[in-house]
Amino acid sequence: MDECLQKYGGLVWSIARKLCPNHADAEDAVQEVFIEVWRHAGRFDPQVASEATYITMIARRRLIDRFRRRSRQLDTASIQEEMVESTSRHEEQTEIEEEAARAREYMQQLRPEQQQVLELSITHGLSQSEIAEATNLPLGTVKTHARRGLMRLRELLGADQVETTKGDTP
């Protein structure tokens, strides 16, 4: 439990701070996320997703559930970055940074409009109509970009996993 908190606490906290309207709500959300992570730890399959992706997935779901329950406007303020002090925390952080860098590489392979719509939706929590307004795109086009972007990402990650598996074969 401590290891999980040390390793992924910052990641979950950063997501909660982005998607929760205030500090108190983010604290409640993070508690719920970790309780759920421990309850469903047995469902984690390293063949399907990394630990960071699995925990991010649980965090997103929990936060979206909370958000939809409350139907409140999201605070899209960016998260301030801090210098890392301890060596162990630095190592744990490096692993997440590497995973984030890989994720950014995949994102960069999407069409710019797909990246934009997905970032506004997933990272900033904007609704379809808010994105349409912000980008001057028709509502249907916003949905199409989101769908195609996610499907392309799935193809890219799937192809990468196949390559990794081939590479593992003696």
Partner: protein, 81 residues
């Protein structure tokens, strides 16, 4: 794979993508439930994983650490859960 099967799979992917981004209406949720009943082994988390990947891409070089007081509360809550 039959055309019907492929169109079923394509529609599931569309609905899962919508679910992971903008959410589904009650009718769409019902449609997804019915389609997944036809294809029970379908990876229903696939689009949520993609969304998690996009979220990871937005993580800064050193995200703010979890406040120590919050860590303590989580430990206490986990102990009693």
């Amino acid at each position: 794979m039959s055309d019907r099967w492929q169109s079923c799979e394509a529609r599931i992917l569309e609905l899962l993508a919508d679910q992971a981004t903008f959410g589904l209406s009650a009718d769409e949720q019902e449609e997804l439930r019915a389609l997944l009943a036809i294809m029970p082994d379908f990876d229903r988390d696939c689009m949520h994983r993609m969304a998690a990947t996009i979220h990871l891409a937005s993580v800064g070089k050193a995200p703010e650490p979890l406040p120590p007081s919050l860590q303590q509360r989580i430990r206490a809550r986990a102990f009693h859960a």
